[in-house]
């Protein structure tokens, strides 16, 4: 659990990809996501994985992305089995399951390389309502906190003799009640405290608060946009041929 949770959390790393403008990282992620939806042969999926892998190495997130992929592989396995049961050909089932992993990898690649602050700048750049931006970014920021809470709650309940891994599927689901109730309660309490703290710091007084940082594209960002668009168009042409 701890191992997987660390694969979902942003960590500041020095890499050429991390240094890019967050809008460029979003563009690359959307391109990979779109290609993952379009890929329907083994060669296309392999090419897509090679691109994601190269980007992960370049961004120094390979290990953490690997954890996310390992986690999504469980669901990919279910997709594979369901397709086999639905009597789809084996290769097609493998491609469909791999597509799912590629979609997860493309999305989590963006979140692993983009800080919650950068995410906020991007959303503001899209002129989304301030409250929605704040709610979304806070939710992203709280993922690691909730993960740590969940781990602590699990430790506390296991110390009271709760054995999560014993019993049939229904018994196991029921055993999650002692974990979910404190988790939800602490999240609600925390959100209430956060709301009070934000109000005490004048949140909502003005509709247009000033910003210390503004997004601006540099030459390397423009170069990456051009290169990624070129590769994306070539891939789309190849995939549809």
């Amino acid at each position: 659990m701890y191992w997987i949770s660390t694969g979902l959390i942003f960590r500041r790393v020095t890499s050429p990809f991390h240094e890019l403008d967050p809008r460029v990282k979003l563009l690359v992620s959307i391109e990979l996501f779109s290609l993952a939806i379009m890929a329907d042969t083994v060669v296309e999926v392999s090419l897509l994985f090679a691109s994601i892998l190269s980007l992960a190495v370049l961004s120094r997130i390979l290990r953490r992305l690997g954890r996310t992929v390992a986690f999504s592989a469980v669901f990919a396995g279910i997709i594979f089995v369901l397709n086999v049961i639905a009597s789809r050909p084996l290769i097609e089932s493998v491609v469909l399951a791999s597509r799912f992993i590629a979609i997860v990898a493309a999305t989590s690649g963006f979140f692993l390389t983009t800080s919650p602050d950068e995410l906020e700048y991007v959303m503001r750049w899209f002129r989304l309502p301030r409250d929605i931006v704040f709610a979304f970014v806070t939710a992203v920021r709280f993922v690691p906190v909730m993960m740590m809470d969940a781990l602590q709650i699990m430790d506390a309940q296991k110390s009271r003799g709760l054995e999560l891994e014993k019993g049939n599927i229904f018994a196991r689901i029921r055993k999650f009640v002692p974990i979910l109730v404190p988790l939800v309660v602490s999240a609600v309490v925390r959100s209430g405290e956060l709301a009070e703290a934000m109000e005490s710091r004048a949140y909502g007084v003005t509709n247009k608060p000033t910003s210390l940082f503004e997004l601006s594209l540099r030459s390397r960002d423009i170069f990456v946009i051009a290169l990624s668009l070129l590769l994306f168009i070539l891939s789309v042409l190849y995939f549809s041929a």
């Binding site: 701890y2 191992w3 660390t6 809470d149 602590q152 709650i153 430790d155 506390a156 309940q157 296991k158 110390s159 009271r160 003799g161 709760l162 054995e163 009640v177 002692p178 109730v181 404190p182 309660v185 602490s186 309490v189």
Partner: protein, 270 residues
């Protein structure tokens, strides 16, 4: 008996949080673990009931090797009360909350009833027995968490930051409860930043820093060693500071506020 033999623990990410820790905790012993944040105190505590398994070395808890025994098996011997009460409470009533651990550990109905009544009366929770735990005050929640663990009468109890959010009266009650447990032959391990509380208990003290045990000794020896405390980033108790202000090398520092008051009154009368 809880025994750590050259225990090290490294997270999957590669961070080492315990390094070569060796330690023995005897039945009926009162031990305090102190150290700065990230010193490895809670990690050490989590090894005693198998929540964490050592990456190197052996932890034995009442002759059970923690690598081979389950958390539930070990928890029957070592009860841990975690710092955050809100992380532990989930039942509809206080009664259900106390019974949860007893049922998990497979106690008979008669024993469950008996232990429930004992816990409710000892922790003065009788009038709340049908109240939702989440509606209790901070101090009551903390008391309930301790009651939930003591209900199955483990041989050793670990209290992780027991004084957080507790007022003076609650701290006194906590101290009384610890003394009662010791008279019943239970080992009590207190993990705390509250140096004044630890000093009032006068336990055996372990000082941790960087995942290692820097010192192991009686409170008098540990809290008068300024160099050691500076190294571990631990503050001296106020009563030790007061004793040293009066006499730079006190024969015996004041253990309680009452001792200090007694001395001051005595001096004034002279």
């Amino acid at each position: 008996m809880i025994k750590f033999e050259s225990v090290s623990f490294t997270h999957l990410g590669g961070t080492t949080v315990l390094s070569d820790v060796s330690l023995e905790i005897a039945p009926g012993e009162l031990l305090a673990i102190v150290g700065a944040n990230g010193a490895g105190k809670t990690t050490l505590a989590k090894h005693t009931n198998g929540l964490l398994k050592p990456t190197r070395g052996i932890v034995t808890v009442f002759d059970l090797d923690t690598r081979k025994a389950s958390v539930a098996e070990l928890s029957r011997h070592v009860g841990i009360v975690f710092q955050n009460a809100d992380h532990q409470l989930f039942s509809e009533t206080v009664e259900d909350e106390i019974v949860f651990g007893l049922r998990n550990l497979g106690f008979d109905d008669d024993v469950v009833k008996k232990r429930l009544e004992w816990a409710l009366s000892f922790f003065e929770l009788n009038r709340y027995r049908n109240v939702a735990p989440l509606l209790l005050s901070g101090g009551e929640k903390k008391r309930l968490c301790i009651a939930c663990v003591l209900a199955w009468d483990p041989e050793a109890i670990i209290l992780d930051e027991p004084t957080v959010g507790q007022d003076y009266a609650q701290k006194e009650k906590l101290e009384q409860m610890i003394r009662m447990l010791l008279t019943r032959g239970r080992s009590v391990i207190v993990v705390s930043h509250d140096i004044e509380f630890v000093w009032s208990l006068q336990p055996r003290v372990i000082v941790m820093a960087g995942g290692r045990i820097l010192a192991d000794g009686l409170a008098d020896q540990i809290f008068t060693n300024t160099d050691l405390l500076e190294k571990a980033n631990v503050r001296r108790p106020h009563l030790v500071e007061l004793s040293e202000l009066i006499d730079p090398k006190p024969e015996k520092p004041f253990h309680t506020v009452h001792d200090a008051l007694h001395w001051i009154v005595h001096q004034l009368r002279r």
